[in-house]
Symmetry: C2
Subunit: 369 residues, 2 copies
């Protein structure tokens, strides 16, 4: 498209600074290359096929998704190597997964014999095979088996089932989003890799081989310095960063590519102004995985203002009483949690040097199945 002025967009609008995106992507790819590991970014952050393709062109080996429906969008857009870093259990999803596996190279997580039996049954019935990675709980206490012996026992139970082939092990140390300091982020990052390597060795001893040993979250990967035997990283948020990453000390405002532009619709008091975006634009997230890391709902750029409260369509800013903000003014705000915000918009606008240069359709928005 021809570059247009930002002010031509109605608000609230979702902006992606493409220059920052490119620096963020190149930075993480460089880090992956330096440590000799594959980068398989999680696309849940951007949900946009064009950006997945950009990640692939810069060196990513494939993408990570959380849902079969996200995998379908990416496959439809021509991405050929997809890992579903999640448990796929419902019959409807398993049927779609089998269909998808005929078109692209797809692998999936497993953390229970029950889920493995369901997966095996569907694939065996279709005469297909699927590669799986055992999900390891490295401290988030969400899905995943415990590292070491529990992982080996699950492998041994799964190994007798038809149509499944062990590809490796993976984890997501999402508890890092509750870290109180950069030192704590680094500690979680080391722990995440360490328990995975121990588990890989335990599998060696049990007579099998985890070809892929995969870790990753943006905070743990931003401070990562490689770890022998770990050979894949799966950060997602690093493409945009957000206020939460800043609060953890792993990103700066200048590295934040995603922002929302909103219009001031009311200034009922010197210390209060209201914008035309609320929780339907910013989400109610105060952090990732339910951790409350942020005081407000985003960083208001260039203003002495806090986005203190949200209704669905209103954002209430608390201001320095002398702050020069008038009704009709536009403000740009870096959200707390980029991934949650992208899911709320149908479209995003790529900007470069302050002008709108591209319009993206967020093709994987709302793909929860």
């Amino acid at each position: 498209m021809t570059a247009v002025n930002l002010d031509t967009l109605d608000t609230p609008a979702l902006l992606i600074d493409l220059d920052i995106v490119r620096r963020n992507l190149e930075g993480m790819q460089k880090s992956a290359d330096k440590y000799g590991v594959a980068l398989r970014p999680h696309i849940k952050t951007h949900k946009i096929p064009e950006l997945a393709h950009l990640q692939m062109r810069l060196g990513a080996t494939g993408v990570t998704v959380a849902k079969v429906s996200e995998a379908e969008v990416m496959a439809e857009a021509g991405i050929k190597d997809i890992f579903i870093a999640n448990q796929v259990v419902s019959e409807q999803k398993l049927d779609r997964l089998a269909a998808l596996s005929k078109k692209v190279n797809i692998s999936v997580g497993l953390d229970s014999i029950t889920a493995a039996e369901k997966l095996s049954a569907i694939f065996a019935a279709s005469g297909l095979t699927i590669e799986y990675l055992i999900e390891i709980n490295s401290g988030l206490n969400r899905c995943g088996v415990l590292p070491g012996r529990d992982a080996v026992e699950l492998y041994q139970a799964i190994n007798v089932l038809p149509s499944l082939r062990l590809k490796g092990i993976f984890t997501h140390a999402g508890q890092v989003y509750g870290a109180g300091s950069l030192a704590e982020v680094m500690e979680v990052s080391r722990h995440e890799s360490k328990i995975m390597v121990e588990t890989a060795r335990a599998l060696d001893q049990a007579g099998t081989f985890a070809e892929i040993v995969s870790v990753g979250s943006t905070p743990t990967m931003k401070v990562w310095q490689g770890y022998e035997r770990v050979n894949e990283i799966r950060p997602g948020n690093y493409i945009f960063h957000d206020a939460i990453q800043i609060s953890l000390g792993v990103a700066t405002v200048e590295e934040c590519a995603l922002s929302i532009v909103a219009t001031v619709i009311s200034r009922p008091a010197r210390e209060r102004a209201v914008i035309d975006g609320g929780s339907k634009a910013f989400s109610s997230d105060r952090g990732a995985h339910g951790k409350e890391m942020a005081a407000g709902f985003g960083i208001v750029l260039g203003k002495k203002a806090t986005l203190a409260r949200l209704s669905e369509e209103h954002g209430i800013m608390i201001l320095d009483p002398d702050e020069d903000i008038e009704i009709g003014d536009r403000v740009r705000i870096i959200p707390n949690h980029a991934c949650a915000v992208v899911n709320l918009f149908d479209r995003a606008y790529g900007i470069s040097n302050g002008e709108v240069v591209e319009e993206f359709y967020i093709a994987a928005r709302g793909k929860s199945q």
Copy 2:
């Protein structure tokens, strides 16, 4: 559609119990009729034209929306009387508002002379007139002028502008969502009506007449017993209710029409099970307007379980260790905040007697502009 079994739906899926919806709608309409006031429901809760039409058939005089884009969806679907209970300020929205005003009967909120000047300029340029309601701050401290003299002064300043006609005054006492007891809900409800009537009288004395005196939120309207001079109510949530309404004491589980069905994908420990819906299905809302009223993220029906934590695609339930929940089982959950949840889905399924009887497209989802 032919009735189908709930289990044919993939998860997470959004369910609307149509029998409960009808009872909820009839109940509020009966209350409005009893007190002789107009019911103008806020459609932000359901975002579905078919349900707006059902509200109209049962006696609603028109609908309330928060955004021009929501008004466009409702107008397109044939709703002829729409109030935008918000400040409309951006040029793009004002242009669309003017276009819309040629097709349907539309009115809008105002709380500043700056916004009034923008509105007046656009309508005067098109040779059109628009009716406005002055927004009164009854304690939510969001938009709105203070009751009484401030409202009169704003009216007087606006009254010299062309193309604007005073229709009345409106408020939303959203602070009720922070009430600690039913007694407090009742107190906010009385206060909401009282200050509006005082403001209407102040306008009388200033030589004008507020034809519409409009109040409303679901909690304040569920306990309302009428108030002389108040002649319009604008609840929204009452069509569905949710865990927040239950926590306020103004609804029961049996009155909750909206639920999410999800599948258990992992049970890594006796006290923990994980479902395939997270903040992309339940939202991160703990209450309305940022109030944190709920302990978890919804009410798990029929199980000794709390939906304690959410990632984007995972819901972590904390269980009674003896609770019989297996991988593959389905659970139904009443969300904290129905309005925020509906905005996350493209489709909802109408159920009756436990079977799926209708599929709704959520036409006003994502309409934040």
